[in-house]
Amino acid sequence: MTSLDDFRMETRAWLEENCPQDMRKTVTTESDICWGGRNWTFKSEAQQQWLERMAERGWTVPSWPKEYGGGGLNGDEAKILKEEMTRINAMSPLESFGIWMLGPALLKYGSHEQKLQHLPKIARGEIRWCQGYSEPGSGSDLASVQTKGVDMGDHFLVSGQKIWTSYADQADWIFALVRTEPDAKKHKGISFLLFDMTSEGVSTKPIRLISGSSPFCETFFDDVKVPMENVVDERGNGWTIAKYLLTHEREMVSNLDAIFGGSAGLYETAIDSIGLDETGRLDDPLLRADIGEFLIDEMALTAHLAAAKDFHRAGNQLGARSAELKYLGTELNKRRQSLVVQAGGLEALSGPEENNGIGNQSASWLRSKGNSIEGGTSEIMLSIISKAVLRLPSLG
């Protein structure tokens, strides 16, 4: 037996003993997901237990180093842990922007003190982070951010506005792109700042979307004091970190299905609402043809994501190719949601607009329209691929 087999058996036994029965089910509502943070109210005792037990082993962030609250697992072990969790249908003990985004950025660019200060709290779900990137005037052209941080000696005075800040109203800390070097060139004048959302001068306001209420907020900074030591890496190097993080975000976004437990029931919806003809085929040949096109693309993307994971696990950086996954994943999800609503007909459109929980077909359809905008639009993804992969000439 190899040591990996041993690891699998130990992991299986530990999960069997420690994963509460209530935590062995598919995520069906938003409140099933544990986000942690100072203001977090656990949905159940089981949710709290599960988080505490997993955090104790460092398994909320299995591949982070142990000294920063991680599990210190290598790629193979982390894969086994994930497989064993899937085997018993265990929910993820903790999801957060700290895990997906800030953590990887700090591991790569943060100082030892910053890592010690922030990473263990992320791993234990004590501090919930949000991301302050986009601004009303800076969408696709993110590097044009105008939120400014004025150098006051031992601190910056930050003022400006961010938008699309997910869960800003519930987050404890923010990592934000702030222009601290007004005289430097566009991409060189931005710093990556960390600060507490309870600081004086921070306020938030939720945004209502076409799909109903949303986690997105507008976030306002009115002369917020941010200590100098809260800059990650060098001043003016924020864009480099932001770009690095965006590739992480794209990988995550292209795999969102995993978080919400798989397909949106397209095939079942079609069979239920339309029925089959006498040859056993869906009794709407044109919709059936569209579903068929979708089906082979879904199989292709599934294979492609698996290949990308293997590629990544083998120690290769996805780099610009994460744009490819983001593009394919989000465009496919838009098609899926659109087909679900088409298959469901008026059934899929019934119910009041505010009834927009996970699983609501019309809300999911409307929400999916944003998939190819958030985290970099499809058009930006195609431009990245043209330039960085195909090496086609560009204007700037």
Binding site: Y267, A270, I271, L276, G280, R281, L282, R288, A289, I291, G292, E293, L295, I296, D297, M299, A300, L301, A303, H304, A306, A307, A308, D310, F311, A314, L318, R321, E324, Y327, L328, E379, M381, L382, S383, I385, S386, V389, L390, R391, L392, P393, S394, L395
Partner: protein, 371 residues
């Protein structure tokens, strides 16, 4: 994004170098312009066999190397990139798998000849303009210890001048695969040159008396052997078509950098960039799909059937876009015979029909999902 082992990289590189030198698009042009009746060059066939590529899917005790489908797919992809004309798919894949799955004497007799390039064996399955194995009309009526075979086959790739045919026919509800010598009087073979300068013969078989031992495998195994044969054929044909798509897309990208209009390379224009970038993404996910199909066949995973069909269906759609965009983005010159893109378009179109087009396989996949 695919990971290759060092052996696979070596194989890929040697296939790429060899095809570019000996079996390139120019070789296909020569074949076409010399009106070669076989649809492939015999010397080249022999050389490809000398490289070991005709024995890749044969077991070692039948003269082969047992490299597996993934390796065969890599070679086929290079053939697609170079439009290499050879009886690889018919002989080294389809017939090889039919023989291998059946086992026995036929495999020991013909395996070594396939591996050395001394035999061409064609699969005679299609009967109409579209591939549809569920509608086979050819019959093999039991007659004493043998059968009487009647068949009208179309699109028998490399069937002209083949040493043997594997003819698919129905015996009652069962499927039989029969090894037929095309030189017998009851077999009429009509050469049929295709758009892509290859051959697909029309074959008429009238009251041919066959011995029981001409049957490759027992009748109750016929359907399973045929399924395995088509599954392998689809996955390898998909690899070849992926090669076509990748090659034309790369040539088009190179052309966008080179061709200037309005004082700039036309690749500067976003209207073209985004189409090429989308095509690139589609090609890459198709490559992963094909690779997973090949792997599934090699590991006899139960997803192999669905994956091989999805792979064949998807690559046809993607390579069609690749070849159409190649002509469009090359502009007027893309319509001329002087540049190669038209040759890619022609072979691509034939590959799409071979072993079933997208609609055929998508229909199957939908049915297995209950709709």
């Amino acid at each position: 994004m695919e990971l290759f082992s060092s052996e696979e990289t070596l194989l890929k590189d040697s296939a790429s170098g060899f095809m570019a030198e000996n079996a390139s698009v120019q070789a296909l042009r020569d074949l076409r312009d010399q009106k070669e009746t076989l649809g492939f060059n015999q010397e080249l066939h022999k050389t490809l066999a000398d490289m070991g590529w005709f024995g890749m899917l044969l077991p070692e005790d039948a003269g082969g190397y047992d490299f597996g489908h993934r390796a065969a797919g890599l070679v086929a992809e290079e053939m697609g990139r170079n439009l290499t004309a050879s009886p690889f798919l018919s002989t080294a894949v389809l017939s090889t798998i039919a023989l291998r799955q059946s086992g026995g004497e036929h495999l020991s007799e013909w395996g070594p000849k396939i591996a050395t390039g001394d035999a061409v064996i064609a699969l005679a399955i299609d009967e109409g303009a579209k591939h549809n194995p569920s509608r086979i009309k050819a019959t093999a009526e039991p007659d004493g210890n043998g059968f009487i075979l009647n068949a009208r086959k179309r699109a028998v790739f490399d069937g002209y001048n083949a040493d043997r045919l594997i003819v698919v026919a129905k015996t009652g509800e069962d499927i039989g695969l029969f090894l037929v010598d095309p030189s017998t009087a009851e077999v009429e073979v009509e050469r049929n040159a295709m758009l892509d300068s290859r051959n697909a013969a029309n074959i008429q078989i009238s009251n041919l008396h066959l011995d029981g031992k001409d049957l490759l495998c027992p009748l109750d195994k016929g359907a399973t052997v045929l399924e395995a044969t088509l599954r392998s054929g689809r996955a390898i044909a998909a690899s070849e078509q992926l090669g076509v798509a990748r090659e034309v897309a790369e040539r088009t990208t190179a052309y966008l950098n080179e061709r200037k209009q309005f004082g700039v390379p036309i690749g500067m224009f976003q209207a073209l960039q985004h189409r090429m970038a989308d095509l690139y993404c589609q090609i890459e996910q198709t490559a992963s799909l094909i690779s997973s199909a090949l792997r599934a066949i090699d590991t006899t995973c139960d997803k192999a059937e669905a994956l091989s069909r999805a792979a064949k269906a998807k690559v046809a759609k993607v390579s069609r876009v690749a070849t159409e965009e190649a002509v469009q983005m090359h502009g007027g010159i893309g319509m001329t015979d002087e540049v190669d893109v038209g040759l890619f378009m022609k072979h691509d179109r034939v590959l799409t029909e071979m072993l079933g087009d997208s609609a055929h396989h998508i229909d199957f996949l939908l049915k297995t999902r209950g709709l």
